[in-house]
Symmetry: D2
Subunit: 486 residues, 4 copies
């Protein structure tokens, strides 16, 4: 008898690691931050934290759990007073030591206190950490966020901005960070703008957050995306923009549109739900076969399936039902019934499947384990033939920019070509959208090979930054996901 951990969403998906939120100028700063983090829960379900500043003291609260569990009880918000706050959701592991890794991190600097959290991953964090420790810095966590802290502490200059720019010049990788000092809320996005960060406004308050859905939940207005390479400083005089780096073409993560972001968010002017429908329609144009029903793999496959069904005229049907109560653990009582596992999350709905030819629409295939079980379930429910269509190209490369990917060896697309993948998951046919099809669906004529419009490294292996740690021999783990023994 063993216990199997099932992630709230899916153990066989890539996972965004983090969501961030910051607000300056509202008497309800912490409450609004909690609401914003709740809207960003899909970006990190295992821990969350808020630090507020009340004009005199910083107030932190960090815990393992969902935002509603951590910040929903009476009094917690009351213990986070002040008109400025930042917050962070984290995809993290459990256990005593992990508590030290929950962001925002806080430290006392010579210039005063500073809290800091980010979404992304530094690809030279281990190298920087090694150098800092040699220099006498003591690390308390295993997050790359603490690398930012020590770089700032060791930078020179009285102004926080000067120190921050010095620190950011030393890092490589992807980051969308928010910080809170005694007088300011600060946002910064890496030079390529891999991870999203937007600016919003609610009455007199300014907001920085990962997605527009975190503005919607509190009724705030979207103002603009923070630009790639931009640092914004928000204080009582308003929003100040700084662009200390040479400008390069931005390359936002294309997987945000395919799976990570919430469908009701709009990033860089593109609505996520509409993008997914366009991808579904393009996918249909590339690879449709005659079937009786289009079945989404819920929940993430639904928008692409709607686009696919609209494009083809084939009925859209709920042939798979998802149980929304799946939590972190569930028991799997013996080998004999171990194969039941997948039905904890999904059940085939026989009525629209029996005696039908169907196409299943999903967003990606990672290890393929879930896909295989779903296909078997659909066949058992009486489907005559099962075709699978995927609204992304094959995921053949690991991500090093703040996404929890299995090692490359575990990726089904690394092990097999498309025909081999089809055999592995047991479908009658399998097709992925093409890279150029994906770019077309995103409103581009095609992928600009010389200067790609998006980061698509997980499909192409074309990484837009140096991978110092990986090339130094630390291929498997991103520092931001590590747990240290002490």
């Amino acid at each position: 008898m063993t216990i199997v951990t099932t992630n709230p969403f899916d153990g066989d998906k890539l996972h965004e690691e983090c969501g961030v939120f910051g607000i300056f100028g509202s008497p309800d700063a912490a409450a609004l931050t909690a609401l914003g983090l709740h809207a960003l829960q899909h970006r990190g379900q295992e821990a969350a934290g808020i630090v507020s500043f009340d004009g005199e003291h910083f107030h932190p609260h960090r815990a393992i759990g969902l935002v509603g569990e951590i910040f929903g009880d009476a009094g917690t918000i009351a213990r986070l007073p002040g008109a400025a706050a930042i917050g962070h959701n984290r995809y993290a592991t459990t256990g005593e030591t992990a508590i030290r890794n929950i962001q925002p991190l806080y430290a006392d600097f010579a210039f005063g206190g500073l809290a800091l959290g980010h979404n992304g991953n530094l690809t030279n964090a281990r190298e920087l950490r090694r150098m800092l420790v040699e220099n006498g810095s003591l690390f308390q966590s295993t997050t790359d966020t603490e690398v930012f802290q020590h770089l700032i502490a060791n930078a020179s200059g009285a102004r926080l901005l000067d120190r921050l720019v010095q620190a950011l010049r030393q890092v490589e990788g992807a980051y969308s960070l928010v910080a809170l000092s005694r007088r300011k809320v600060i946002g910064a996005r890496d030079p390529l703008g891999v991870r999203p960060l937007v600016l919003g406004r609610l009455q007199d308050a300014w907001i920085l957050t990962s997605e527009t859905c975190a503005l919607d939940i509190i009724g705030a207005q979207f103002v603009r995306d923070i630009e790639a390479g931009e640092i914004v400083i928000i204080d009582k005089d308003g929003v100040h923009s700084h662009k200390p780096y040479p400008q390069v073409r931005q390359r936002p993560c294309i997987f945000e549109y395919i799976y990570f972001a919430r469908p009701d968010s709009t990033l860089a002017g593109l609505n996520v739900y509409e993008s997914r429908k366009c991808v579904g329609a393009e996918l249909a144009r590339e690879s449709h076969v005659p079937v009786d029903a289009v079945i989404p793999v819920p929940d993430s496959g639904v928008p692409a399936a709607i686009g696919y069904a609209n494009e083809t005229g084939v009925p859209f049907e709920l042939g798979l039902i998802r149980n929304h109560y799946v939590g972190r653990t569930f028991i799997e009582p013996s080998d004999e019934i171990r194969h039941l596992g997948v039905r904890l999350k999904h059940n085939a709905n026989s009525a629209p499947l029996a005696g039908k030819k169907v196409v299943l629409v999903d967003d990606s295939i990672v290890r393929g384990t879930t896909s295989r079980k779903i296909v078997e379930m659909v066949r058992n429910a009486g489907a005559l033939s099962v075709h699978m269509r995927i609204s992304s190209p094959p995921t053949a490369h690991s991500c090093f920019y703040g996404v929890n990917t299995p090692s490359q060896q575990e990726l089904l697309a690394h092990q097999h070509d498309v025909d081999g993948m089809a055999r592995e998951i047991g479908v009658d046919s399998l097709a992925f959208i093409s890279i150029d099809g994906l770019y077309r669906a995103m409103g581009q004529s095609k992928r600009n090979m010389a200067s790609p419009q998006f980061c698509d490294a997980c499909f192409t292996g074309d990484y837009p930054t140096r991978l110092t740690d990986k090339d130094g021999g630390n291929a498997q783990a991103q520092l931001s996901l590590l747990v240290t023994p002490a």
Copy 2:
């Protein structure tokens, strides 16, 4: 600053109170019961319990929380050994005293131990309790389930079946019960069959449970529905059926098809998902207006919206996005932002709404509070006109058969006619499916007024049983929902 409790699904919905599961003849009885209860989680989210029997001892575990929280940790299942078990999900209130009300209840009788749980509500439970207490019975809980126990304890006869029949003859109302004795698992359904109960088989084991989805999750086969008024006794010799009452026409609850049951369940031969699509189609035929998009109110409005969209050819669009992380409590930080509450659960997705005429499809209107906020949200997102179509007739009467309904005075359909309701929720037009339209969608030519095919009392006020407690002056509360001070 106040805390608002939000139910996992919706504070403005009717709530099924319970789900039941029983299994006889499997070495994994408790584990399979936990999985079955997990599949029935939508029937009761606040507490759950399992009692197993290992041939010598009964083993109980009952707690407040979701099934995965209560039964997912290592060792809990191991402490529930045996080849027979029953389980129960409960929609209950929190607090110390409520723990005593979590089912299955267990007691030592003269004939041995018996555990018992049911789904439904006895309409003469208070009257029976009063009589039993006068006779020297001591009640430990406030559930009507304990009424069953004392009636059995005070019945005569050495055979449990004889005692059970005596007990059931005294009760009025709706019940689908499962019980576990040293040698048997027992199921019983009230003479009208208001609440569902089905029989399944997994290898050598027999299963009794509320819905077929609890069979699917463990890979069990559906055998048949337990009939109205039937008692089944499962022991080592198989399944024995008893029908001790005069046969009357069954009247299963029609709201199970509209909202309570899971879409992938099949009850009395009707698939719930297909029924909902048929209702949506019928609703479209009765009351369609020209619009640009059909928008389901997620999640329960989705199947009817698909039926509606298919019938009319209007595109089905996800104009409302639901946050699946909403838990039991969330903070509402001040009066000023109190109106944000509803966005905890739903957000309008502007892209498919802006500049469009839309019809929203929902399953019911109870108090109307949620509907009003959703309509406002859709208008704010830019919809030109908003029409609402409801896949049930107006809910104008309370349920006394195991559903948590507000008092009749709080029901919007009790306060207003349809035009008044439309004004209250702020739509351009509002329509409900007609009673006969609903029966047509369920495969009947129309409602048989002399002998209706379903229990539809919440729409018609035509209650199929005596309401002894209500008519005796206890209108508001069903005993099964009470909390007593000690």
Copy 3:
């Protein structure tokens, strides 16, 4: 590696099972009850409960833990309003099922609610329970207290007093009970008065409790002992005494004076501390040997050691130091260091031991395991010779009146004569006070063999009541200590 449960005081002692407290007529009824239970903590350390009545509702709170842990947090007392309350400390086992056994128990009767708790044990509880179950009573706990409840429920008469007298006529054994109805607080003591119960007064309030130390803690005045066989009913008109049974000579438990009661309590006119000193002096007169120091085994041996030292003129010295932080569990990490266990509680203090002849004074020897380790420890600290003197006669018989005794087979005094016991625990000499010496120390000329002045069954085997359950074959367990599997 194993975990060893160590009782707060000593796993090798007899344990009083319970303490009771009741108060009528104070606005702070629950708070004063909590304080009283705290003073009685030595009578039961593992669970406690209070039920209050506020003129309209009964309010219960019961939990596992120490009184200060259960009733010390903000708000708990506030949720127990009213001018009347009763409380109970319990020596109980842990686990889910035990919660149902924590007293006071409460039930709704035909005449209204009644809460009830007692100290003692019924020696025919199993037999009564069997009869009640056959008659249709459903038991929810495994306490003998619930037997009282069902007897009262099945008694006739409108007056609670009549029902209570009927119930008490059917029980055998020892009990000092307190009960709370809507209008009264009631106390009752068995016809022999085995367990103590006293009446006190604080301003306008009346108090019933096990020992006078629970009056002292709240500044209440001692009024009188409740008499053996007396029932007192306290209501707004004052204290009413009833003596429904034929009077017999009382036989209070003599072990209360030797070990159970707190030294600052006075029972039946005898101060416990002074009694223990007298026993120590008598012990010295009976069996002194020349030594250099008198060493108490802390804490219970201290008063007798003072009496012994005063009588002999030998210096009283703290040769054993007790760690007062010992809690319920502590780890014993491996076989190799398992023998360390006893030092968790006691450490030999070498300075007053090294090179000395010493006498150790303890109150009793149960299994002898602790005595053996203490003697070894004292020798290792350099004592030249070690003599042990015990302030009670050999404990050769089990108690069936509410004390947790090992089975007779485990008692060292059942296995060996005094010489054998001396060898087992490794002392140079061992002596117990004689039965008549003990009675002399208690102010009697000697034990009245025909009609003993005390219950001394654990020394003499002369049980003052019938032992129906034991003689029926249930020798080992007292019902009040049982845990049932469901």
Copy 4:
């Protein structure tokens, strides 16, 4: 109605802050450390931690609570593998932020990991912290222990010993520290040896700990005291001693003998219990008055009272009984019964008090609040006259060496002369032992005014080190007791 926090021992006592334990070379290192910390529980009751090293990884566990609560459950010790470990008990405040302050602290240094805990207080910790932060060090806790860490991180040299010596040269104040690196357990005592530290041996393992009672509990042999100013390094080659500072006369804290240390410990060759008896005897010689009984204020006054009684021939009697179940909080229900508070801990035992002239023997008077209540209680119990004798000189000055003292203004001895103090606490006479009497009891002819043999600053104001932080304006708080808002 308010909640009052009562310290396990006494809110009106000085509190030792910490106990330390380290072990090298035992397969049961963590289990033995837990046992040692349990024996040192009196030195810090509110939090504890252990860090072990298993040859590859460091394993920490730190929590709020008693040692038995933190380390007594199954599995906790198993998660602390390795043959070397250090542990720490702390007198700390509660709350989220305090968790970061629980020792041992751990950090990764350029030379590897190091865990560190100490007993004492640095009198220039704030000044050092300020300088370190200016230099780019980030502090995560508010303990002075972290100052040690950063000093070591910023020291030069590859050898840990060199770095440690550099660090220790910069600190002022009192410390007895233990540290754990990958290859060593290290102990260090400040140049004056204010706080105790002893070396012991158990089979092949070496042990460093605060008191000998922590050796006794695990059956280890006492080897010697660590000398003032000594650094010992224990590795696989044995114990290496280093004395890097110029030698000065040691001045151990005299209050360890009067109150802090356990009576069964021996420090610098003096047994604590015997020392206390000598102080009691000297006190009697200085200030005896004719009385009928000598009454100790339990538990700390007992040894001095024995010495006093032996010296005078007056009977030693338990006139005050202490409730050993007093925990951290207890409710005080209303103003009217607030004066009950003190009886939570002590109760007067009337039998040996009524009609008697008594002397109460206590170890110290801090604020005087408890003394006043005890005197009143003794008078209420019928004592004819009440004299108090204190086994220390008046406590007129704060301690800055790791003891939690009230500010000087709150000390009764700062506000009043002895006659005034007698009036305040309501006794017939009051006397303290003289400074020279105390030194005589400790085996000295008298206090050496030029070079005192002990630190007695709390009596004399003669502080043996600079008080940099205090003189810099931070008089009130020792850094080791601080809690920061973030």
